[in-house]
Each structure stands twice: as structure tokens, then as C-alpha cells.
């Protein structure tokens, strides 16, 4: 398997350093091709004009780690993902690669996830585990575990630079609405909603953290804080614990609905997987 994307190099054009009270005015480009870190907000996000990738809110040092895949610490895990993709596992004697010869064939999948199949909302993690249990006769991977995030990062990377374009109408509508409800619901002893921080206050500092819009176009994301890849659901869980709320279950209906809603909020942003954050 050849990963030409491993050799891409990215450059920042026209960044302005030291901006703390707003998202950085910066452009992220891959091999000269601009990756959109902003887009006009979808109509349903009434309180936003523009959506911004979390990359824009990070410090210059953190942003620059994403400019070159040799510097990007997430690629150690993407490499593990390549090994796992090719590794035979389970009673059927198959690897992912037995059925999916070239991982590049997954280009275009990430921007459409999560999606509804036969009335069920399905995430990338669900797709991976369905292959493992149904087609490989292998044990499912832990939802946000290291094997899962390595492979979802590898698959997501194939769509890097493509615009997020998740469907949220038709049979996705009820899930979208549930996600929207959860986004605005105040929870925890601190009694806050996602929107309190990521819609009402993005661009300002909350103690040492520069608040972003909480977009998920870069997931799974490498965090300097824990030096590994993190799933979107693990991030939701972390934010809920910070406001002293009991998190919903990773891979459960609530977080899947929230993921769909957030993906739709970021429609038009580029897939940035695997991104680097702090």
C-alpha cells in the first residue's frame, strides 16, 4: 500500500501570530492546495456567520505541527493503522486489506460520516467494527481505543482536503434534531451547554484555553495533552466531565446524534484528519 499523502507538505500562508482574542487569520495549504479552515455557516446555525476549524485557534507552534506530515505526531499512529489494516485477524482469516485492497479507495467516505443506514445512525467506528465482527469474525475494537483511532485516522486521511458534506435531512433529520437538542442542553453541576462555550464564546480565553467552535473536521485528533489520537466521542466525554456532567456513552445514541449535528455544523470545512491540538 502506498500512501502518497504521507509525503505531502503543508505551508501556512499569511498567518498573523500572537492573536489571542480571535481565531488566527491563517490559511492552511497542502501541497499548494488550500485546505478550508473556514466556510460560511450552514443556515440552521443561526448564531454563526462563519464556521472555523479548531486549527485556527491553536498557537503557532501547535498549528505548524500540522503543516508537514513528518512533523505531525499523529502519523506514528497512522503508520500503526496501516499495519492493522493489513493484519489478518479473526476466524475468517482476513485483514481489512483482503477486501479493501487500496485504502485510498476510502477517499470521499469521511466527509459523509456519520450517515443513516436502514434507519440506524452509523459512525466510522461502527463501519470498522461491523467489518471486524460480520466479515472477519474478529472481536470488535474498543470504541475510542488505540487500534480503532489508528484505523479511523488512516481512513479519514484519504479524504483530507475534501469538504465535509454530511446529510442531515430525510431519514437523518431525527438524529440531527436530537443532536441539536443535546448541543443546547445545559448539563452538569456547572450547568452549561456545548453552545455556551463553543457558540457564544469561541475566540476568547477560558483560563489557559483559547475556545474554538468545537468543530470535528480534524478527528481523530492528536492531542499534545495525552500524546495520542482521540476520537470525537472521547472529546465530548472530556468536555462533559469538565462541566461536571455524567458523560453519555462513547458510541451510544446520544453521542452519535451529537456527532452528526456537529459534523453538519462543519459542512464546508475541509477534512483535516489527523489534526493536532493541545
Amino acid at each position: 500500500m502506498e500512501l502518497k499523502t504521507l509525503l505531502t507538505s503543508m505551508v501556512i500562508i499569511g498567518f498573523s501570530a500572537g492573536l489571542v482574542s480571535a481565531q488566527a487569520d491563517a490559511t492552511l495549504a497542502v501541497e499548494g492546495e488550500v485546505i478550508s479552515t473556514s466556510a460560511s455557516a450552514p443556515a440552521f446555525a443561526e448564531n454563526l456567520d462563519t464556521v472555523y476549524s479548531g486549527w485556527r485557534f491553536r498557537k503557532l507552534e501547535t498549528r505548524s505541527l500540522q503543516l508537514d506530515d513528518f512533523d505531525n505526531p499523529a502519523f506514528v499512529f497512522v503508520d500503526k493503522g496501516i499495519d492493522l489494516f493489513e493484519k489478518v485477524d479473526g476466524t475468517e482469516g482476513k485483514a481489512c486489506a483482503s477486501c479493501h485492497e487500496d485504502v485510498e479507495d476510502f477517499a470521499g467516505l469521511r466527509p459523509k460520516m456519520p450517515r443513516v443506514e436502514d434507519g440506524t445512525l452509523v459512525t466510522m467506528e461502527n463501519l470498522v467494527n461491523e467489518c471486524r465482527t460480520e466479515r472477519m469474525g474478529a472481536e470488535p475494537w474498543k470504541y475510542s481505543g488505540g487500534q480503532m483511532t489508528a484505523v479511523t485516522a488512516l481512513i479519514g486521511l484519504q479524504s483530507r482536503g475534501m469538504s465535509v458534506n454530511v446529510a442531515f435531512d430525510g431519514d437523518a433529520a431525527p438524529f440531527f434534531e436530537r443532536g441539536q437538542e443535546l448541543y443546547y442542553q445545559r448539563v452538569g453541576q456547572l450547568d452549561m451547554s456545548c453552545s455556551n462555550c463553543h457558540e457564544d464564546n469561541y475566540g476568547v480565553m477560558i483560563r489557559a484555553d483559547h475556545l474554538s467552535q468545537g468543530q470535528i473536521n480534524g478527528f481523530p485528533t492528536y492531542r499534545l495533552k495525552n500524546a495520542k489520537l482521540n476520537s470525537a466521542h472521547a472529546r465530548f466525554k472530556g468536555c462533559m466531565k469538565n462541566i461536571r456532567a455524567t458523560p453519555y456513552k462513547e458510541g451510544g445514541d446520544e453521542f452519535k446524534a451529537l456527532e452528526l449535528y456537529l459534523a453538519a455544523r462543519g459542512n464546508g470545512l475541509s477534512v483535516e484528519t489527523p489534526s493536532v491540538r493541545n
Binding site: 482574542s21 442542553q185 445545559r186 448539563v187 452538569g188 453541576q189 456547572l190 450547568d191 452549561m192 455556551n196 462555550c197 457564544d200 464564546n201 476568547v204 480565553m205 477560558i206 483560563r207 489557559a208 475556545l211 466531565k241 461536571r244 456532567a245 455524567t246
Partner: protein
């Protein structure tokens, strides 16, 4: 019979409350302010200063800049700077704001620091508890009153 029982209960209670704190659900607000101290011990401004910056207690600095703490590296910007706040608000108003800011500022992001019920899905270890104790709340109020321009 019931009435007599209640009267004795109340008189027993009034003896104990002379030394006890006002429970979160018993706090009386008027126009977002709380006139009566929640405790019988006056607030300790120095203790309040620690609570203000402590991430596990008030963590007020997460959202508010405060020129009184130049040594603290990170000051938040979510709420207004609290420099000089003791000159802008009365004691009762400050007590009301910190106890339950939603009574003063409708729909605010600022948490209520002396509320022990009514929030959704709290982590188990915080269930039925307020962020600060009555005494800690009075300490913070005493500290805020020292912040004058």
C-alpha cells in the same frame, strides 16, 4: 397535635440555625441580590482570594480577568474583568451574583456557586452538592468587596 409538633420543631431549629448556614434552597433573592449573609461568621477576604483562583473551587479566573492577581498567568475573558468590581456592586448584589448568577443575568453562562439541585446529569460525586460552601461563598464576597479602583 401536628401544629404543636411543628412549633417545637421550629423552635429547636431556630436554636440550631443561629449557628448554622443557610441551605442553598433557603436563600432569599430580591432583584438578583441576597441581603442576608449565608453564615454567622463574616467572610475572610484572604481565603476568598484563594478560592477565586483555585481551579477546584471558584476558578473565577477561568472567566474573569483580575488585576489584583498579576502573578497568575492565565486570566479568562468569558465574563467582564472584575478589577474594581467592589466599587460597582453592593455586597448583597455580589452575594446574589455568586450564589446564582442567573437570578441577576438571565441565561448567563456563569455557574451558580451555591446551588445544590436542579442541574441535569451531574457527575455522581457532585450530585446534590453546591460548588462552594456557604462560608466559601461569603469569603469570595468579602474578597470581591476589597476590589476597588
Amino acid at each position: 397535635m401536628k401544629k404543636i409538633f411543628m412549633i417545637t420543631a421550629v423552635s429547636v431549629l431556630s436554636v440550631t440555625t443561629a449557628f448554622a448556614d443557610t441551605a442553598p434552597s433557603d436563600v432569599v433573592f430580591s432583584d438578583g441580590a441576597v441581603m442576608a449573609s449565608l453564615t454567622t461568621v463574616s467572610g475572610d477576604a484572604a481565603a476568598g482570594r484563594d478560592i477565586f483562583k483555585n481551579r477546584k473551587l471558584g476558578n473565577c479566573l477561568a472567566c474573569h480577568m483580575n488585576d489584583d492577581m498579576p502573578k497568575q498567568q492565565f486570566h479568562g475573558e468569558v465574563g467582564p474583568p472584575l478589577t474594581g468590581v467592589g466599587g460597582r456592586w453592593e455586597e448583597a448584589e455580589l452575594r446574589g451574583i455568586v450564589t446564582n448568577a442567573k437570578m441577576m443575568f438571565e441565561g448567563t453562562i456563569m455557574p451558580g456557586f451555591y446551588i445544590d439541585s436542579g442541574y441535569e446529569r451531574p457527575l455522581k460525586k457532585f450530585d446534590g452538592k453546591s460548588i462552594l460552601s456557604a462560608q466559601q461563598l461569603e469569603d469570595v464576597v468579602a474578597y470581591l468587596l476589597t476590589l476597588k479602583d
